[in-house]
């Protein structure tokens, strides 16, 4: 049944619509996140906060190139995918405020969808799988999906006449990684997220576009009610003991699991106790 519907969807321009119908009829349920949005009863505090944010909000024009080029050559990197529902409003690189972690968090958005970190309802057990946003379907687990294009470091060997290179520590990628494939939370074999052009998402956006402060405040509060502003700590995944994600099940090889769980940077980050704390780099890395 699902398969046949998918075949239709592939050849049809009304794909998003049909897909959402397929999702809701074939799997016989709405996405969990949508349910929670509907059930949400934001209190006055949340509404106040929401109103403040709506008022303060201003659209930011993203500038990628300036007349002054960056001095250092930057590694080639795929554009982040903007397929998540959150990206209707949020920047393609959503983390901007947390000075310490924003770049690292933005890097994670290539691998992990927003809801993985920010939608963690306590009353249900979610499981996490690879999901292809572009095709709107499950992606089978594979080690390739963990890959990074790593410019491996080459160290010259001074005691030898010939040029020798030592391969980098990281796993090398031979293929380009599809930025649309991310780890996403699933509930009852069904992704919990809303999709950008689904009927539910459209109805929310419609309310937003009416440009009524009252309405916007409510919508914003409802959308964010099931979410948590802070994600889990680094060690939630980057630790061999308490894993939020089952890396092996997601297709990671032994080496990859090791590389992720033993990574230096999360260890470094775990030493920060206060918000604005500064730590001398030399103490940590030497």
């Amino acid at each position: 049944m699902i398969k046949s519907l998918r075949q239709i969807t592939h050849s049809c321009s009304l794909r998003p619509l049909i897909l959402s119908i397929a999702m809701s009829t074939a799997l016989n349920a709405e996405p969990l996140y949508w349910d929670r949005v509907q059930q949400a009863q934001p209190d006055s505090e949340a509404l106040q906060k929401s109103e403040k944010l709506v008022k303060e909000h201003k659209t930011l024009e993203i500038i990628k190139r300036t007349r002054i080029r960056p001095f250092h050559e930057q590694p080639k990197y795929d554009k982040p995918s903007k397929n998540a529902f959150c990206m209707s409003c949020h920047l393609p690189l959503p983390h901007t405020k947390n000075l310490r972690a924003r770049t690292f968090l933005n890097m994670h958005t290539h691998y992990i969808t927003c809801e993985t970190c920010h939608f963690r309802p306590e009353d249900v057990n979610l499981d996490y799988r690879w999901f292809n946003y572009h095709e709107r379907q499950l992606q089978s687990a594979s080690s390739e999906l963990f890959q990074v294009i790593e410019h491996h470091m080459l160290l010259p060997d001074a005691n030898s006449k010939t040029m020798q290179s030592k391969p980098g520590k990281q796993i090398q990628a031979t293929k380009k990684r599809d930025p649309n494939i991310k780890i996403a939370p699933f509930f009852n074999q069904q992704p919990v997220m809303l999709f950008k052009d689904s009927t539910q998402a459209d109805s929310l956006l419609q309310q937003w576009q009416d440009d009524d402060l009252q309405q916007r405040t409510e919508v914003r509060a409802k959308i964010h009610a099931p979410l948590e502003s802070k994600g889990p700590k680094c060690v939630a995944c980057h630790d061999s003991d308490k894993q939020m994600l089952h890396l092996q099940q997601l297709g990671a090889t032994q080496d990859q699991v090791k590389a992720i769980t033993m990574h230096r940077i999360p260890l470094f980050f775990s030493r920060y106790k206060e918000k604005d704390q500064k730590i001398r780099i030399i103490d940590v890395l030497r």
Partner: protein, 441 residues
């Protein structure tokens, strides 16, 4: 050992890296450890790809640095903290990362053992007409601020951290390097030569400094975009008054590109002249001054020396050529007239060339209209003469004797009308031919 490759050029980069890393070590220390390329461990994080964020200005910022590029770059042996001096903590304070290019770094200049610095260039640059812009406190985040504050170029606006051996020279470099051990190595024995000095010398040997086209590219990046330049206020060197740039200045790059100086360079003939060749031929090539400045290489008094420099126009120094050096190298007559402002256009139309073209256009119009009418109504019979000078041709070249009639007319009647005159000529010429022919028979 198994060599891993991610990019085809990596082995070359490794070669360059080897040379860079060991480049500045003292020649006496044969067994010295190779310099640690990243002693402070900055690249532990900064070499990770994908460290992007969008800052308050909306600028897409990238904290990732291409590690292998960096190690193969001009600054590949300079540890990060030699430039970003004050960074000790994480998260960094933005000001702590500010770079001042005139500071010295811990790399030593091999012949004298002094700490290396760009200070001489910065000093020279500050004297130039460009020099009042930014020259320190560089950081990725204040690029916008700099652009807002000043249109004058700073170090970073022209220069980035280029590869030690540029990509188009890597093959050549590799080929040349393959020979060094057998050829140069006869005298220059030992590891030190091979690993430390060889590449450095070879790089110079290959001419890896900027060639004329490369340096032009830097100048043209700004000077070839009049939209960017048009709001700049130029300062009069004498009165200090500020004024808007004129068309000649705004479109200097365009007029330059029409002259042989540029055209030769474009097709790869290095005998052409780059911007710097004329505007900053001396010293470290950063002291570019306005033409009016007496110190400027392009000041009329200094032009003979400038033009005759580096084997270009040797004769420019001779007194009789004093006008030659004034040949307009940024000739506005070569610019499209639409580029001129209204006031300028009035001055411009007074030029000899403009008057000349104004004179020729009416004549052409008359001829063209006449030609068109004739094409439909004229009879294509007998001898057709040109409207201007046709008669003279008949007499002077075709050998028609000025007829008795005409001679008589010229004495009796004044100016005969062209119409009545053309008929007998036609007749006469055919007549004369016929008579001659019959004579021959």
């Amino acid at each position: 050992m198994k060599i891993f490759r991610t990019r085809p050029g990596d082995d070359i980069i490794s070669l360059a890296l080897l040379l860079c890393a060991l480049l500045f070590c003292l020649p006496s220390t044969v067994t010295a450890e190779p310099r640690k390329p990243d002693p402070d461990g900055c690249l532990t994080c900064h070499s990770l790809p994908g460290l992007h964020w969008i800052d308050e200005d909306g600028m897409w910022r990238v904290a990732s640095i291409d590690k292998s590029h960096y190690f193969s770059s001009l600054h590949g042996s300079v540890p990060c903290r030699d430039c970003h001096r004050k960074i000790t903590d994480y998260p960094h304070k933005v000001e702590n990362g500010y770079v001042d290019c005139s500071e010295s770094c811990h790399v030593e200049e091999p012949s004298e053992g002094e700490a290396y610095t760009h200070k001489p260039i910065v000093d020279e640059f500050e004297e130039s007409t460009h020099g009042k812009g930014w020259h320190k406190d560089f950081a990725g985040g204040n690029r916008f601020k700099e652009l807002d504050e000043s249109k004058l170029p700073s170090c970073r606006r022209c220069h980035d951290n280029a590869l030690y051996i540029s990509e188009n020279k890597t093959t050549l470099f590799k080929e040349s390097f393959a020979h060094t051990e057998t050829e140069c190595g006869t005298c220059h024995v030992g590891e030190v030569w091979l690993t430390q000095m060889g590449g450095h010398i070879l790089r110079r040997f290959l001419g890896n400094r900027m060639n004329k086209n490369d340096s032009n590219e830097l100048c043209l990046d700004c000077h070839n975009t009049p939209e960017y330049l048009k709001d700049i206020e130029l300062e009069d060197s004498e009165t200090g008054e500020k004024h808007k740039p004129d068309t000649r200045w705004l479109h200097a790059a365009e007029s330059y590109q029409r002259m042989l100086h540029s055209r030769l360079l474009v097709v790869g003939v290095e005998d052409g002249a780059s911007c710097v060749d004329c505007h900053a031929p001396q010293g470290l090539h950063h002291k570019i001054l306005r033409d009016e400045d007496e110190q400027a290489s392009t000041h009329p008094d200094n032009l003979p020396d400038t033009c005759s420099a580096s084997g270009c126009h040797g004769y420019a120094k001779i007194d009789e050529n004093k006008d030659f050096v004034l040949t307009d190298m940024h000739d506005t007559d070569l610019l499209a007239m639409t580029l001129f402002s209204k006031e300028e256009f009035n001055n411009f139309t007074k030029s000899v060339w403009a008057i000349l073209s104004a004179l020729t256009v009416p004549i052409i119009i008359v001829l063209a209209i006449g030609s068109l009418i004739w094409a439909f109504t004229g009879k294509n019979r007998g001898l057709i003469m040109a409207i201007l000078g046709g008669e003279h041709f008949q007499v002077y070249m075709a050998g028609k004797k000025p007829s008795a009639k005409k001679r008589a007319k010229s004495t009796t009647a004044r100016t005969p009308s062209r119409k009545s005159d053309s008929k007998p000529i036609r007749k006469n010429t055919t007549d004369s031919a016929e008579t001659k022919e019959s004579d021959n028979d």
